[in-house]
């Protein structure tokens, strides 16, 4: 049974383990695959950020963050980022966190969510977010250096939360 809750101080080890595993592959995030634990946690857990963890049978299997994408006059648009532990991929953890994120963003009165850097070769994430109503609103040509494919495009994705 999957549960999602705000991260606690004691979750740092588990968050770092997931972060490290995800960026080590170097195919979805721009972070240095050899980023330090300190720098990783400083990015993921900040005063302007809400950090969540997903647990399955008490074990942390994913984490996501939600924060304003810009300061004051752009702070009505949220940014979010998701990481799932390698083993249980395709287990619904990413989808469950994304749906939780949409709900949290609405609760916190954000008017939209923006992803700034979706690597175009990350097809499973793209498919999931398009299913959840995100549109590709921009393409950054060759903005990501993929370890196998070289320079590949990056998408900016956006989903309004306003009633239409």
């Amino acid at each position: 049974m999957l549960k999602i809750r705000p991260a606690a101080e004691t979750d740092c080890d588990a968050i770092w383990n997931i972060f490290h595993a995800v960026v080590a592959s170097g195919d979805t995030y721009a972070f240095d695959p050899h980023i330090s634990r300190e720098d990783a946690l400083a990015y993921w857990i900040r005063s302007d950020t809400r950090t969540y963890v997903a647990t399955k049978n008490g074990k942390i299997v994913g984490t996501y963050l939600l924060r304003p994408n810009q300061p004051a006059l752009g702070s009505h648009v949220a940014n979010a980022a998701f990481m799932v532990a390698p083993t249980p991929r395709r287990s619904g953890v990413g989808r469950a966190m994304s749906e939780h994120c949409l709900s949290e963003a609405r609760r916190l009165a954000f008017r939209a969510i923006q992803f700034n850097f979706v690597v175009s070769t990350n097809e499973s994430a793209l498919r999931l977010w398009q299913q959840l109503g995100f549109d590709i609103v921009g393409t950054l040509p060759r903005a990501f250096r993929h370890p196998e494919r070289g320079y590949v495009d990056v998408y900016i994705m956006f989903r309004s939360l306003e009633e239409s």
Copy 2:
């Protein structure tokens, strides 16, 4: 005669004066118009950032920054931001700094420059950057809260520096 050079420690007062004047109008940057000097300078002058000033007859009339827009695997794309002192607008300071920036970005081996947040109502900046070869590669719907016009769109602009 306009000169552009790297900012020095002693330029902080002048940079803050320009920053403060530019964000006070609240129509081009997302920063809180009442941002503190400390927060402003912490954004504009950072260890990963090159900061420049433009001087006219020894007086600082503009400032810009250049830095990687993403960490490691996206660090070949630069980000830049420009601020011109209110008085000499339309005096060519913005254009001169933009051209200097393109030259510096090439010198530093960046492969492209990206602007993350160009307010769609900022027509003079849009015109200038389009003249300098930047394209609008994305549109963020209603992502900026304009003091007079309400929620307005924001553009992402991009210019490759690779030889084609």
